[in-house]
């Protein structure tokens, strides 16, 4: 198994100073990924860069093929960035490592098992193993979940510094999906504390009245939560009692994945 020594940037080639031009270019790429299409003046203003700087870097990114001008609406990323991102082996590694364990867990739980990642304030299921019950989750249920409504979202937030979690939560309204949804930052923070102490997150009719879910975090070598594995099912069948009985196996699986991602405990 591969082990990381990189526990921060300190011990990796410290004699080099980073290229500020490259840093600015990637700040622009990241800014575009969130705000596209976007006008250069907005980039300059928000990233506190000079207009000359922004134009030169945009010209460079266009030359490379990563950015395109969208008529009069501004600049955006091209599908070349999507293609490049799709080649990141980590996502495959993660799925490859997780897949057999998800299948095992699915077999034991006989409920749907998901592998989720965080994108902005949304939790996205990137893999699933379906249960064999006839009453399985409706396939037309959306596969993205607002961060405050799902068990996985709580795990992503629970291991961030409290201010950072609060900041993410404050970026928008906490939509009330059901009577049980946590809709205030304060209530969420209390729940995150419990989640952290317990080592897994629960979701009891919070995203949907018909749905319960337990989720356990997957950590990378830096101790960052990079993904979650969760068990979800209809609330009439996947009761908290049933999920309580499965959480031990769930944690066993996520610990194994974290170890394979280089986490040493």
């Amino acid at each position: 198994m591969l082990q990381h020594t990189n526990d921060g940037s300190n011990n990796s080639t410290p004699k080099y100073s980073p290229s500020t031009t490259v840093q600015k270019a990637f700040r622009i790429l990241e800014f575009l990924s969130i705000h596209q299409p976007v006008k250069p003046s907005f980039i300059a203003e928000k990233l506190k860069l000079t207009r000359t700087n922004v134009h030169r870097l945009l010209a460079t990114l266009i030359e490379i093929g990563y950015v395109t001008k969208d008529e009069n609406r501004g600049y955006r990323l091209t599908f070349s960035v999507f293609k490049l991102g799709s080649r990141v082996p980590m996502s495959q590694d993660l799925k490859e490592i997780a897949k057999p364990l998800m299948i095992e867990l699915g077999r034991i739980a006989n409920e749907n098992v998901y592998l989720t990642v965080l994108y902005g304030r949304m939790v996205i299921a990137i893999e699933e193993v379906r249960s064999h019950h006839h009453l399985s989750m409706n396939p037309d249920i959306t596969y993205t979940y607002p961060i405050h409504t799902c068990a996985s979202g709580k795990n992503f937030l629970a291991y961030l510094p409290e201010e950072e979690a609060a900041q993410i939560l404050s970026q928008g309204v906490l939509e009330k999906r059901t009577e049980n949804t946590f809709t205030t930052v304060e209530a969420m923070q209390e729940e995150l504390k419990t989640t952290r102490e317990r080592g897994f997150a629960t979701e009891i009719r919070e995203f949907s009245d018909d749905l319960n879910s337990y989720s356990a975090p997957i950590f990378d070598y830096q101790g960052k939560v990079v993904a979650n594995m969760s068990i979800s099912g209809p609330s009439i069948r996947a009761t908290p009692e049933k999920l309580d009985n499965l959480v031990g196996v769930l944690l066993e699986k996520t610990r194994s994945i974290s170890q394979q991602l280089g986490r040493s405990e």
Binding site: S12, A25, I64, L84, S91, T142
Partner: protein, 260 residues
């Protein structure tokens, strides 16, 4: 190995170098700095400085054995592109349902750089698929989505595109003559759907219809594909109305998303 890009005039050459390194790592998976130095013809301190910069930015990380690989970061950023064109949110639910109803794999693709670029995919079921076609490209001339996308082009553009395509034979059924392909595309235009009759792989058949109205991408294609012994030509006829209904629903979702 792709050649280094030229950096004309007002171009930040350090950014070009950094991206060359990122793409080199994407090609190889895990690489030693010395391989980058050697294969890209860069000097050692440049490579180390760029890797240090990319590591600080969280795009690469380093193994104990000294090799570098890409992190999840590029995946996150890249994924925003199809989302920004409304290709995912308006269609995913319908793709899943179509896959569920038919029991076959459903793909969603656009025409990008003269290829079908798959932006989303739904599989019917229980087990995770080994292949991962999202983000990958396939030829236009021998896939059902490719033919649907070709059929969307204006006649002149269609002819020019066909002239540019390599028309590589993959199976005995692949259409490799420009004239035959052109006639096939005219049929697709008339019929409103396209069939891949084991033209990319002998084991697989596909059927695709266009989806209109995306912002930016204009048209995309959705397909149902399955093993040739299950997705027979008769079965394709039976699946087609469901596929067309799915496309209509996605088009409605797009209209709603745009007017929202």
């Amino acid at each position: 190995m792709k050649s280094k890009r030229e950096a004309p005039g007002n171009i930040a050459s350090t950014v070009v170098t950094a991206v060359d390194i990122l793409e080199y790592i994407a090609d190889r998976g895990k690489v030693y700095p010395r391989d980058i130095t050697h294969d890209l013809g860069l000097n050692r301190s440049t490579v180390h400085r760029m890797l240090y910069t990319l590591e600080r930015l969280n795009y690469v990380d380093k193994y104990a054995d000294g090799r570098y690989r890409l992190t999840f970061r590029l995946f996150e950023i890249g994924n925003t592109v199809p989302h920004s064109y409304n290709l995912i949110d308006t269609a995913r639910r319908e793709l899943l349902e179509l896959s569920h109803i038919t029991g076959f794999t459903v793909n969603h693709g656009i025409n990008y750089a003269d290829q079908v670029l798959y932006v989303d995919k739904a599989t019917p079921a229980a087990y995770l698929q080994l292949d991962r076609s999202v983000g990958e490209s396939e030829p236009l001339h021998c896939t059902s989505i490719g033919k649907v996308l070709l059929a969307h082009l204006e006649d002149q553009e269609l002819k020019e595109t066909i002239d540019r395509l390599a028309l590589t034979p993959y199976t005995p059924n692949t259409l490799v003559s420009p004239d035959t392909l052109y006639n096939e595309i005219i049929d697709v235009r008339k019929n409103g759907y396209a069939v891949d009759r084991q033209e990319l792989a002998m084991e697989v058949r596909c059927v695709a219809v266009p989806v209109h109205g995306h912002t930016g991408a204009n048209v995309s294609g959705i397909s149902v594909s399955g093993p040739e012994d299950q997705l027979t030509l008769e079965k394709i006829e039976r699946v087609l109305p469901t596929l067309q209904a799915t496309a209509a629903r996605i088009e409605r979702n797009i209209r709603n998303a745009i007017s929202a």
